[in-house]
């Protein structure tokens, strides 16, 4: 099959809508346009039925006992904000301490920074070099004032899947609420909020071949019953936790996407992992001083993150971006020149944090695309190393750490 360009291998930033999802959504834009809160006519009943069916599909995917435990939001960022701020406001009298990690995605980190300004105390548990959070480090961070533990299910850059069940057990033991950001893990790794002791779970549709603009927050109703203060006021929809007219077509699409994930996850995960492993083997066997980030055996099946010593991430992407969409942990586009805080937190040297490339595969990638992207990546790395003064120095046997660099 002929390759079609550009090739998309950035599926941890977003995914294309599955055509089956689009098909399910379409009637809800036109003939089935009712408001799910209209209780007194068939248009409303039809819309409410569709939203509840979608809720049920999502509940099954995460093992929730009751579909009512799912609150639709505008996406992962809103879900995370609602979980943190909702708990913080509602449980403030019980305590003002929150435990989270240094590798959470920006929404999780930034909402904590805001809560700190509002008088909460936040402990950011460090990450181990393999990408895992040590459960004992979370245990050690807990105090009598802790009201919430939040640890992401799987990381957006390195794909490492945390020991969520152990953290859930710890939270139960200590009577603390447990939130997990599962935006990257949903539909990719098995999730069971009951056996894993999850009280709150954030997710989004656009990373599971659903539409952009809709997400959900799982809010446990029993053992314990979690109460949340809403982010904004209004008609009291979604059990009073999230006012606003539900985007019915998006909810339906999210439900259909969840249903497809549930049916296809085992086979799709195995297929993507095989393609990912092929890409990894190709690159690591041809490029010296390329380092795999994150623990290989506890990883999302579609994730591959490699740091290429002596070349800068953005320049690698520039060499590929006409034909292949990838992502780099390097944020040279920001004035601060900050490298990936996730890769840096693993204890890697700062220049390796500037050199990380993330390949993330999706449902529609092919073996031919994997071969092409692997080959082109190898070529671009070689070309850039021929241009790299650091590679030249290293090849001459100079220890880069022995040079007194003049940082700007």
């Amino acid at each position: 099959m002929a390759l079609k360009f550009p090739i998309f291998m950035d599926a941890q930033s977003t995914t294309p809508c599955d055509p089956r999802v689009v098909e399910a959504m379409l009637p809800y834009f036109t003939e089935k346009f009712g408001h799910p809160a209209s209780r007194n006519h068939p248009f409303g009943w039809e819309a409410e039925g569709a939203v509840d069916a979608a809720r049920g599909k999502l509940a099954r995917l995460i093992g929730a006992r009751d579909p009512k435990e799912l609150v639709f939001t505008s996406g992962g960022t809103e879900s995370i904000n609602l979980a943190f701020k909702g708990v913080a406001e509602m449980y403030r009298e019980k305590g003002t301490h929150i435990v989270t990690t240094v590798i959470e995605q920006r929404a999780g980190i930034d909402v904590c920074k805001r809560l700190e300004r509002q008088g909460f105390q936040v402990t950011y548990v460090p990450v181990q070099p393999d990408g895992l959070i040590d459960v004992d480090a979370i245990r050690a961070a807990l105090t009598d004032k802790t009201i919430l533990v939040s640890v992401m299910f799987a990381n957006n850059e390195i794909g490492t899947i945390q020991d969520v069940a152990a953290i859930g057990r710890l939270a139960k033991e200590r009577g603390v609420l447990f939130h997990t950001d599962a935006t990257q893990a949903l539909g990719k790794a098995p999730i069971d909020v009951e056996s894993m002791g999850i009280d709150l779970l954030s997710c989004t549709a656009h990373l599971v071949y659903g539409p952009k603009g809709v997400g959900a927050l799982y809010v446990r109703r029993k053992g314990p019953r979690v109460r949340l203060a809403p982010l904004f006021d209004g008609g009291g929809h979604e059990r009073g936790m999230r006012s606003g007219t539900l985007p019915v077509p998006l909810c339906v699409g999210f439900g259909r996407a969840a249903e497809i994930c549930q049916e296809s996850m085992p086979a799709e995960g195995a297929r993507l992992a095989k393609m990912r492993d092929r890409l990894q083997d190709m690159i690591l066997s041809s490029v010296d001083e390329a380092f795999l980030n994150g623990r290989p055996d506890r990883r999302l099946p579609h994730n591959l993150n490699i740091s290429f010593a002596y070349v800068e991430g953005e320049s690698v992407l520039m060499g590929l971006n006409k034909e292949t969409a990838l992502s780099s942990g390097s944020a040279c586009t920001s004035a601060t020149l900050e490298p990936s805080y996730v890769i840096a937190a693993l204890g890697a040297s700062a220049e390796l944090a500037h050199s990380s490339i993330r390949f993330s595969l999706h449902r529609f990638n092919t073996d031919e695309e994997v071969e092409y992207v692997g080959q082109r990546t190898i070529e671009v790395i070689k070309r850039l190393r021929d241009m790299s003064p650091l590679y030249e120095l290293a090849k001459e046997g100079v220890d880069l750490k022995s040079i007194k660099w003049k940082a700007e």
Partner: protein, 136 residues
């Protein structure tokens, strides 16, 4: 962020990539930036000791596409200039030529620093030569 055509051209067809042996007469070397900041440039000039004109230049850069383009452009501009003229190249000239956006201005600053460092290294190594030519 889209790159300007000139940045893309320098990235795809970098001019004067490579190295001179550091202790060759007439060669000045500048190494600026830091790996942890994500940018390191090595820029070298080869000066005709008779005329004081830069006859050739080379670079190697670890950094983003704009950093590579800034140093590639710098080597082009250096060739044919005297050592004194070369010292007048400003980072703003590079910004204008490559149409660098504000977040990439530091790349041009680093290129100017690399030029200055290469010139300083040349002057230091060839102090006796330049005084000799000046006294003529």
């Amino acid at each position: 962020m889209a790159y300007s055509d000139k940045v893309v051209d320098h990235y795809n067809n970098p001019r004067n990539v490579g190295s001179f042996t550091k202790d060759t007469p007439g060669v000045g070397t500048g190494l600026v930036g830091a790996p942890e900041c994500g940018d390191v440039m090595k820029l070298q000039i080869k000066v005709n000791l008779e005329t004081g004109v830069i006859e050739d230049a080379r670079f190697k850069t670890f950094g983003c596409g704009s950093a590579i383009a800034s140093s590639s452009l710098a080597t082009e501009w250096l060739k044919g200039k005297t050592v004194d003229e070369a010292g007048k190249i400003k980072n703003t000239d590079i910004v204008n030529e490559l149409k660098l956006p504000p977040v990439k201005i530091h790349c041009s600053v680093l290129a100017e620093d690399a030029i200055k460092a290469a010139l300083a290294d040349y002057r230091e190594k060839h102090a006796s030569v330049s005084t000799a030519t000046a006294s003529k």
